[in-house]
Symmetry: C2
Subunit: 107 residues, 2 copies
DNA sequence: ACGATCAATAACCGTTCGGTTATTGATCGT
DNA sequence: ACGATCAATAACCGAACGGTTATTGATCGT
């Protein structure tokens, strides 16, 4: 779980990359060029970021014809929630609520 | 809040740095040399990491004589919790929508 | 007063990172 | 069949990162 937390933290530590993930969370499935449109970086940069997010399990790519549809894999945030829950007893109640929700989505 | 989240994510994305923060969370106030002892890096490296954690507000340093006592500032995790909370709310919406749909299909 | 200790800073080094442009490979529309 | 489009890869670049050793500054014990 340590390693997973590492990857997730690192993946989300870059603003551009996190913005991509956030957009996928909010808007659902999006193609690379749709994502590139809003991101203020080039298409290859977007593709690289998506690749990293995919490695972290935060994103899934579905190839359809010549376009690839990406979507957020919210379950992959679990290591982060676990980490927070463990190290910040201060926020215990909120974390429990979060974890509860995640477990329900895990099914 | 975006910027805060940036800094917090980035600060915690390095394993060595996160280990320092975790130890401070678990064991309370510790001096630099106590932290250096367990970390597998040099004292200057530890000092630099503590400096970054301090910039992020994740850590507080209390100078006492020639030694500095550091402690975790769990409140600084709030941006991270908020970020997760925001997307958790989004998940809940989706989840509720799905539940709703399933219920309607049942009839 | 002086040597030892603690922590921060300086100076440096190799690697990784985030970005670019150019190119390739695949698929679509006509 | 062919030009256009979409996405991934390649090759490269400067900046930032994480680490080191050496040094400095301050404080403690004797």
């Amino acid at each position: 779980m340590q390693v997973r937390a590492d990857i997730v933290f690192k993946s989300l530590s870059d603003p551009t990359r996190r913005a991509l993930f956030e957009r996928l969370c909010r808007e659902g499935e999006l193609t690379v060029w749709e994502l590139t449109d809003a991101a203020r970086v080039s298409q290859p940069a977007v593709s690289k970021h998506l690749g990293q997010l995919k490695s972290a399990g935060l994103v899934r790519g579905r190839r359809q014809g010549r376009e690839t549809h990406y979507s957020a894999e919210t379950k992959a945030l679990k290591p982060l929630v676990d980490w927070l829950g463990f190290y910040a007893a201060f926020w215990r109640e909120k974390f429990d609520a979060l974890e509860n929700l995640l477990n329900r989505m895990d099914q």
